[in-house]
């Protein structure tokens, strides 16, 4: 390249600036993640081994004692419990997204509504929703609904707040321009609000998916005979089957890891334009 002419804006300098580089970007991202993951797993196993050696008790078996049991259990009952837990979390995510997104968009776009409800949200949002577990169990009964509702409640406020702020941050110029192209309420929703709030929804999910699974664990201690929470506490811990218990813990961690990774990758794909430069 000649020195006298300024270097053309290279793709490599602005990752994610073009949609056609999508596949390459995602592949690179996933590969990097896998590499980091391998390193993390090695360090994790080393720490685990050290801790087991130091404690030297039944409650802390070595990784190589848990590994085969984990594989065994996964081919048996553990898999079913994992599926039940996954189903509960996914149902909660779906319900929370479907309800919180429109409400958040409404609050973000209609200032009068936001003035009325924002203080209420500010008040209720920080309450740890898990304290409502007894009430929810009584009102919604012992079935699936109470558990899904509790998790959805936690996700609901996270998504609501982020989507509201995103919608409120949309520039009036943008809305006016798109309206001048003929867009009414439905087209605005389809072409502006929906794509604008999607990355926000994913950000909220990424941040709150860990809490959701923690709450799932607690919710599964009550009135159910299925799910990883039940497996870890009732089926294994209380029966002193520690290798199986750790299999359950591993399964729950995996569930969290997979969900987090999926959300993270989706967030990167939908939010690529953010790294393209200043324009918002």
């Amino acid at each position: 390249m000649q020195r006298t002419t300024p270097a053309p804006r290279s793709e490599a300098l602005t990752p994610g600036s073009t949609p056609t580089g999508l596949l390459r970007d995602v592949t690179r991202h996933v590969l990097k993640r896998v590499g980091n993951l391998a390193l993390a797993v090695i360090i994790f196993l080393a720490c685990w081994t050290a801790l087991a050696a130091y404690l030297d008790r039944d409650i802390m078996p070595y990784p190589w004692q848990v590994g085969p049991v984990f594989v065994d259990e996964l081919q048996g009952v553990l898999w079913d419990h994992m599926l039940v837990s996954a189903r509960r979390v996914l149902a909660a995510i779906g319900a929370a997204v479907l309800v919180a997104t429109p409400v958040g968009l409404g609050l973000g776009q209609i200032r009068a509504l936001n003035r009325v409800f924002s203080p209420l949200i500010g008040l209720v949002h920080p309450i740890p929703k898990i304290v409502f577990l007894p009430v929810i169990l009584v009102v919604l009964g012992v079935g699936e609904r109470s558990k899904v509702f509790l998790i959805a409640l936690i996700l609901f406020f996270q998504i609501l707040v982020v989507v509201r702020d995103e919608a409120a941050g949309l520039r009036p110029e943008l809305i006016q321009s798109v309206r001048s192209l003929g867009a009414g309420r439905r087209a605005l929703f389809r072409y502006v609000y929906l794509p604008a709030s999607l990355p926000a929804v994913l950000t909220a999910l990424r941040v709150s998916v860990g809490t959701a699974i923690a709450v799932l664990f607690i919710a599964e201690q009550y009135s159910t005979r299925e799910g990883l929470g039940y497996y870890i506490v009732t089926l294994t811990w209380q029966r002193l089957r520690f290798e199986e218990m750790y299999s359950g813990i591993l399964a729950m961690s995996l569930l969290g890891l997979v969900l987090y990774t999926v959300v993270d990758v989706l967030e990167r794909i939908t939010g690529r334009w953010r790294s393209a430069g200043e324009y918002y």
Partner: protein, 261 residues
């Protein structure tokens, strides 16, 4: 093309009275500039014509339509931030056609006489406008990754892809550097002539008003009732920028705006 009768507009119930019994008439094919200092109501007037604000009293007609909402045959270009930041240049230019496809020719969101554009037609129209405005190389980039001039070209392409008969522009080139601004002014002049557009451009730059408007509406003190209209028939002729007529016209505008020439 535009007929404004007895327009009265104020912001809110007790806000400033911006227009009072204001009348204005624009014939088809005319090129108008609106100039005035900030806060004189020039953008408000444009938004009223665009159907993005409602008049407090009086009527605004564009073509045969009484304006109560955006009219599908009117194109609007704003100073900045009108593009979807998450969509590529191509997708931004295609947006208007997609909106028309979304509704179909309902007369409210899209012209009644125009068939729903097919995917193929959309592709063709968008591609030809990208070439026409020299932004085809940027087609896959996001608005954040292109220059200000390219963004305004994208906005112009998006608006003109819908074949408007009236083009409204609100300080479209104010945030651009001088060479890019002149470049785009020339582009707008050639598009005006070629597509026989009626155009109204709002600007606070005296030179820009004189270059782009064959008629110049000067807004000054609130509320606007009687207006000054400066005739500028030579605008758009080649080399007008460097003529004595142009300089005189600029000085005339300065006088009307209460400035010293």
């Amino acid at each position: 093309m535009i007929t404004i009768e007895n327009l009265t507009f104020r912001y809110g119930a007790r806000g400033a009275l911006v227009f009072q019994d204001f009348n204005w008439h624009v014939k088809p094919g005319e090129a108008w500039s609106i100039i005035g200092s900030s806060g004189c109501g020039k953008t408000t007037l444009l938004m009223l014509i665009a159907g993005l604000r409602r008049a407090t009293r009086g009527t605004i007609r564009v073509g045969n339509t009484l304006i109560q909402r955006p009219r599908p045959e009117t194109g609007l270009i704003l100073q900045d931030y009108g593009l979807l930041p998450w969509a590529s240049v191509w997708d931004n230019v295609a947006l208007g056609l997609r909106v028309r496809r979304f509704y179909g020719p309902d007369g409210k969101h899209a012209p009644r006489y125009e068939a729903r554009p097919s995917r193929q037609q959309t592709q063709q129209i968008v591609d030809s406008w990208l070439y026409r405005l020299h932004i085809n190389e940027q087609r896959d980039k996001f608005p954040g990754a292109i220059s200000g001039g390219q963004r305004q070209r994208t906005a112009i392409a998006r608006t003109l892809a819908l074949q408007p008969d009236l083009l409204l522009m609100d300080e479209p080139f104010s945030s651009l550097d001088a060479p890019t601004r002149e470049d785009l002014q020339t582009l707008v002049l050639s598009l005006q002539a070629e597509m026989r557009l009626t155009s109204v451009i709002v600007t606070h730059a005296i030179e820009e008003a004189a270059i782009l408007g064959r008629h110049i509406l000067v807004l000054s003190a609130l509320p606007n009732t009687d207006t000054v209209i400066v005739s500028n028939p030579d605008a758009g002729t080649p080399g007008y920028r460097s003529t004595q007529t142009f300089l005189d016209k600029c000085n005339e505008l300065r006088l009307h705006l209460g400035l010293k020439p």
